[in-house]
């Protein structure tokens, strides 16, 4: 069984761009809208790419800015300069 990972993001301007970028970069990801937030689920692994979010926001987006938009997540986290990955080992 491939274990699902997930991340919940606030419904804000930055948040919408992050969700869009995740859905574009992770073909298996699905999004579930809830009041004020969106939960994105993906089997096994999910990547948030800084360049992909930056492109949508029209400005440089630092992956650490995720701290301003994230609500919750399920999975382990690996963070570097260009991306943030949520995965199960």
């Amino acid at each position: 069984m491939i274990k699902p990972v997930s991340i919940s993001i606030q419904n804000t301007q930055d948040g919408f761009a992050i969700v869009e970028a995740i859905l574009a970069d992770n073909p298996e990801a699905t999004s579930n809208p809830l009041p004020a937030m969106t939960k994105v689920d993906c089997p096994g692994r999910l990547v948030i790419r800084a360049d992909s979010v930056s492109e949508r926001l029209g400005r440089e987006w630092d992956p650490q800015e995720i701290h301003l938009s994230v609500i919750s997540l399920s999975g382990s986290v690996d963070e570097d300069d260009g991306s943030l990955i949520i995965f199960w080992r």
Partner: protein, 508 residues
């Protein structure tokens, strides 16, 4: 020559381990006296790696940004009479329960993470604990600040810290946290960071904040999400900390498993208050407790425990009981509060027809058969002017301190009574989960400050209910009793006059 910019991982290393030193003129065991007595063996603290590479400079930057966003909303709320935007005054009771029950825990978490930031031997974990300590203080402060707006208009909020230390239902969250902070550092990490924050906190914050959003409570949504953005970091700390303990020594596995079993059950029992709020206190409902349990425990927790199986960790003991009870728990919790609303700093009320229909739909196997008839009987009594209040004081569980209202699995008409003997005394617990916890450390739980027993020892202001309520600082006739006929109902209807037709609450 321009200095080379460090990568995120290099910078993180420099700002955490790079700041650490080995003691030379004091023994390591004297510097970190709490590190070993729980039996946890750590061979290499350097193997710890924090998943988020957040350094103090970046931390201040992002936290400041969160504060600016939050205070813009708080100002807007105050300037625009935000209290008028909520769906119904009954909703505010969820906020009361939150500030009375949860906000003081944020402060306790602040204190104890400061303790860990001093006493954990690993530098990476110490820095993470330090940030979390500051986070928790921020949560406490922003919650008080935000909810203070509602305190201008609503009852039951005015003296929440005093109430937290004294009220019968608030001894549930208080004793939960006291249990954790009186344990060692590794049990605390497993209890609060892992079992509570990682496994169960989604059930507290996500539906609560989503529910606030759905019920027009902009202020609570904003502090909630502002706090929850820190929570993701805390959860991840919990998961990585447990994984670190498990990887360091095989002998740690059974100790950690015991803590997971205990704290899963402690957290689950605590969440009965949250589940009740979701199913009963939100006029517009987001999801039921049963649905939230499936999404956030059964699915997310299933993946988690499948991942931890490689270390020999299994699902928490009694997770099956929680699953089997999910159609009953919130109704039984609401029953407790309906019984004792005269002694609570919040309101309960008749469950109207639309709400009953929703509960039947969400709980098709349990609600109509077991709980609807009870509510209809209570309604009849209220209509005759004899609103049902329980004249006795409830029997409390020695461990979770919740009135012993939960029933046997598979037999929702029979209360689950468990009893242990210790030192010649009887100790009653509500479930196999709570009994196991008592039996494992009876000398700890025999000390429990049970509010009902304290009243009968004469320690709570007097022998009559009004004297006890005075001692609680409950403003009698306003903070307590049914919503129907309360000053809050009268105020709300007055506010809504001219906005929409005024409909009696019970018929809505």
């Amino acid at each position: 020559m321009t200095p080379r910019k460090m990568s995120l991982k290099q910078k993180y290393g420099a700002y955490t381990r790079g700041l650490d030193w080995k003691p030379t003129y004091q023994r390591e065991d004297d510097v970190f006296p709490f590190a070993k007595y729980e039996g946890i063996k750590i061979h290499d603290w350097d193997a710890w790696e924090d998943p988020f590479k957040l350094t103090m400079d970046a931390y201040w930057k992002f936290q400041a940004e969160k504060e600016r966003k939050l205070y813009a909303v708080i100002d807007s709320m105050a300037q625009n009479n935000g209290q008028l935007g909520i769906t119904d005054a009954r909703y505010l009771n969820a906020v009361k329960l939150f500030i009375q029950g949860v906000t003081p825990l944020e402060y306790q978490a602040h204190r104890h993470f400061a303790h860990l930031a001093r006493h954990l031997p690993g530098a990476g974990l110490r820095v993470a604990a330090q940030m979390q300590s500051i986070d928790e203080l921020r949560h406490c402060q922003t919650q008080i600040h935000t909810i203070s707006h509602y305190n201008k208009y609503f009852d039951g909020i005015h003296d929440f810290t005093h109430m937290h230390d004294r009220l019968w239902y608030l001894s549930v969250p208080k004793s939960f946290f006291d249990d954790a902070t009186s344990a060692g550092p590794f049990e605390f990490l497993t209890s609060i960071s892992f079992a509570f924050e990682y496994v169960l906190t989604n059930l507290l914050f996500v539906p609560f904040m989503s529910g606030a959003a759905y019920n027009g409570d902009m202020a609570t949504v904003t502090f909630g999400f502002s706090a929850q953005s820190d929570e993701s970091r805390h959860m991840t700390l919990g998961l990585e900390a447990v994984r670190f303990l498990l990887e360091q020594d095989e002998a740690n596995v059974p100790i950690v498993q015991g803590w997971i079993d205990k704290w899963f059950w402690r957290g689950y029992r605590l969440l009965s208050l949250v589940g009740m709020m979701m199913d009963y206190m939100l006029p517009k409902k987001v999801m039921s407790w049963g649905e939230a349990w499936e999404t956030y425990y059964e699915q997310a927790g299933g993946a988690l425990f499948a991942d931890l199986a490689r270390y020999g960790i299994r699902e928490p003991k009694y997770a099956d009981v929680a699953k089997a009870e999910k159609g009953h728990m919130t109704h039984q919790a609401w029953g407790i509060f309906y019984n004792y609303t005269h002694a609570a700093a919040m309101h309960t009320w008749d469950i109207d027809e639309a709400h009953m229909a929703w509960l039947r739909e969400k709980y098709p196997d349990t609600f109509a058969q077991h709980y609807e008839p009870r509510y209809r009987k209570w309604r009849e009594q209220a209509e005759e002017g004899k609103r049902f209040y329980n004249n006795g004081l409830p029997q409390l569980c020695q461990v979770c301190q919740i009135p012993m209202a939960f029933t046997e699995v598979g037999d929702p008409n029979t209360i689950s009574f468990r009893v242990s003997e210790h030192g010649g005394d009887r100790f009653h617990t509500c479930s196999d989960g709570c009994k196991d916890i008592f039996d494992h450390e009876p000398e700890k739980y025999a000390q429990a400050w049970l509010p009902v027993h304290q009243i009968f020892q004469g320690a709570c202001g007097g022998a009559t209910l009004p004297e006890v309520l005075d001692w609680y600082h409950i403003n009698q006739g306003a903070d307590n009793m049914d919503y129907a006929g309360s000053p809050e109902e009268e105020q709300w209807n007055r506010w809504m006059e001219g906005r929409r037709p005024v409909v009696p609450v019970a018929a809505e």
